[in-house]
Symmetry: C2
Subunit: 246 residues, 2 copies
């Protein structure tokens, strides 16, 4: 069984001030699961170079894949490129290929501001696919994605195609019951002890008409996940589970 | 000018696997701003006691206020109470007041599972308000809130009423323009240099009909924020900004 780990670093005062609602993490998390990659940690920080650099350095050492979201535009509050460079001791340089693309795109309207988007950490790779020709910056295991959700999702596809890794997908089964967690606990404990390789989750729903608690069974070995699910269902009293949906 | 800082720790495999979309952070961020409290860092981790304990310890030392979200129910994956105890070297004990409330609530149906919700880190405070009588656990500057959004929001009110702090609220002004960031950069740089005490943000909108970039001006001194906004608007070319809304 192969298992890869990932971490995400969300960058931007607009997220931490609540001005903009974060929207990329759930997309990233859901994209990684079928690839067998486990998102294990997320950190959100302000637009502060040293703080971003410190996080990138630590995350890159600890996890197989690091995805940053935000801070890659041309303005004063876009400091991700510089911070990632600092994390790896790489200078920030103008990439000739990016410069050419930017000049071609803006033509006579091109300003020094636009050309700041050609700045990259020295030694990085510029990743593309046939569908997404505008390069995505990657330095070692760190991928620099923009915070704007539409572009984040587009570039996520570049990551998926280029990461060159396909592990065992996580599979998941859910059971919905009208029992509360206090009553479910001994049943869950039995299954958790019996299936240490299956992740068992219990999620109460507040004020829901049709069910009280959702149980989930997750893992990378489909037969074990199914067996854990079945073992739990067999422990339920008569009449449970019912056929609920959210 | 008084300034307080906060950090949030979001706990739960369901968030990092994308099974549940995180919904509490934006509510927390927006609630803190009028109190003059700046949310400076967010960390999301899985249901792993040592990892949660380490985060709590670090965040509690660094920030004035720490809010945790998730992991406070009775099942095997609810480990926040134990982790917060470990962070401060406090044993986990049964609180008699909570036990009494739980027994009264469940009556004859009360199980050992339900009574697990009476476990608290030794030395904690149980915070309540007239409206929210069910106690919220606080250990020093760390508030333990549940992940279920409806209850999280309810308990946030307890925090607001009990935190006993009202600093200078952050104020914000926004400007919407049709200019892109490349063209705006020199104008923004001028204002940023002139108003180091005002936080200037620039947010491009992708595929939006009415505007291209939103600029924001934030700070705790209303006159300075207004002055920065006005200085920026004075730099704009004729016809900008227009009266856009999102």
């Amino acid at each position: 069984m192969s298992l890869k780990t990932a971490a995400a670093l969300v960058i931007g005062n607009e997220i931490l001030s609540g001005k903009v609602e974060e929207a990329n993490l759930v997309v990233l998390a859901r994209m990684l699961r079928p690839l067998g990659i486990r998102l294990r940690r997320v950190v959100m920080v302000e637009d502060v170079i040293d703080e971003i650099a410190r996080e990138v350095q630590q995350l890159a050492l600890t996890y197989d894949l690091v995805v940053t979201s935000g801070g890659v535009g041309p303005t004063h509050d876009d400091v991700t490129v510089e911070a990632v460079g600092r994390a790896f001791g790489a200078a920030v340089v103008t990439d000739p290929r990016l410069e050419k693309m930017i000049r071609a795109h803006y033509g006579e309207r091109c300003t020094p501001g636009h050309l700041r988007m050609a700045l990259v950490p020295d030694g990085c790779s510029l990743e593309t696919t046939d569908d997404v020709a505008w390069p995505t910056i990657r330095l070692r295991n760190v991928w620099l994605l923009p915070g704007v959700p539409e572009i984040f999702q587009l570039k996520l596809q570049v990551l998926v195609e280029n990461f060159g890794f396909a592990g065992d997908a996580f599979v998941t089964h859910a059971v919905y019951t009208k029992m509360d967690e206090g009553h479910l606990k001994p049943l869950l404990d039995t299954v958790v002890a019996q299936f240490p390789d299956v992740e068992v989750g219990s999620y109460p729903k507040w004020h829901h008409d049709s069910y009280t608690t959702k149980l989930t069974f997750d893992g990378q070995e489909p037969e074990r996940v199914r067996a854990a699910h079945d073992a739990f269902v067999a422990l339920l009293p008569e009449g449970e589970p019912q056929d609920f949906s959210e």
